[in-house]
Symmetry: C3
Subunit: 149 residues, 3 copies
């Protein structure tokens, strides 16, 4: 079974944001899969996706501070400066974190660890609405004639 | 064909560890696939997976030294410090390296380069036993009636 | 439907290089897929793959400068120095960027964002020819009897 759809997220401020709930809500088909994989892909080069701690907003703020420190703006070595101080660092941060996640599915649900949540990593000051492509594949539950309706 | 199982690894000390053998040993089904993909996923946010040089223990020690340098402990900007000095750096290292690997399968075996091995990257001082979710999918060998038994 | 092939790229100089065209040209089968995923995997530990801005050569040069700065050669802490000054940094850069990409397919084409291109990241001074393993999977278009020939 294959299913795909695009999901456009509302604009998020620069920083790291939990979006697990939005992603799952966009995929009612997920519940029919006995086993499978969900591929979440961001169609942009200045925002990215990662999986991390889903409980503390402090963790997400520390991510933002760390990446601003590790990939500074206005570094004198940048050649590509035309699109703003936040543009070239955004491309590098996005490459470090990656444009996609592949997540296991078991018994009709994402099979994540207790503390794992999907982060949208918005690296631009005004990145606007970001679009994800969600691709679901797997094996569906076998429903026998005697299954309860 | 789809197959999935969870594999709990024994506790590893902080550092980078080769686990290719354990992963393959947990998947006898792999040998039946003509072509396919293996998805290896770690169900934690303070340990990660990567693929790198499988011969020299020096390389794995250099990885540990590099990441300790690049993502320092006790950085004055961290806000999330409640769970120990090694916790917030562990989340960041895990995001940089990533929570999963997708590996090609050909002729019943992982189709990796000669020097590629799967690393468990343990970023905590006492991370304990870590659980992986292994997902195998692909096309099985066609066995004809005339195949040798 | 599953399809796999190895693609050996001509040697590239150290740096970041757009290879979307070569990858797509190696996969005529891609055009038959209604929905699916392409897995691109590099069979080496000192070169990597990423997805980033496909228009400006400046961006690719800034990537090379940034990663040389973030993962320096001849760092006094490296233990693994036998294979050249560029070797250990190459392994670390490759782990940061990753050995594979999984890309959505829709209507017989890669379903990427407008500005997304596949980069070969060559981290060695003389890395030579690099081999990719391409794995295509998905659902093919249904062709009815009345389809035009």
């Amino acid at each position: 079974m294959w299913h795909t759809c695009d999901l456009t997220l509302k604009p998020h401020p620069r920083g790291f944001h939990l979006i697990t709930r939005e992603v799952v809500a966009a995929l009612p088909e997920l519940s029919t899969l006995r086993v499978g994989l969900l591929h979440v892909f961001i169609r942009h080069t200045s925002a990215s996706l990662t999986l991390s701690e889903n409980a503390s907003p402090e963790v997400r703020r520390d991510f933002e501070r760390y990446f601003n420190h590790a990939v500074p703006e206005r570094w004198r070595e940048y050649e590509h400066t035309l699109e703003g101080d936040d543009d070239m660092p955004a491309h590098i941060k996005a490459a470090l974190l990656g444009p996609s996640l592949t997540l296991p599915i078991l018994g009709g649900r994402l099979h994540l660890g207790t503390w794992q949540g999907i982060y949208l990593c918005e690296h631009r000051d005004r990145g606007g609405a970001r679009t994800l492509t969600l691709t679901l594949q797997g094996e569906q539950e076998v429903r026998t004639a005697s299954s309860p309706k």
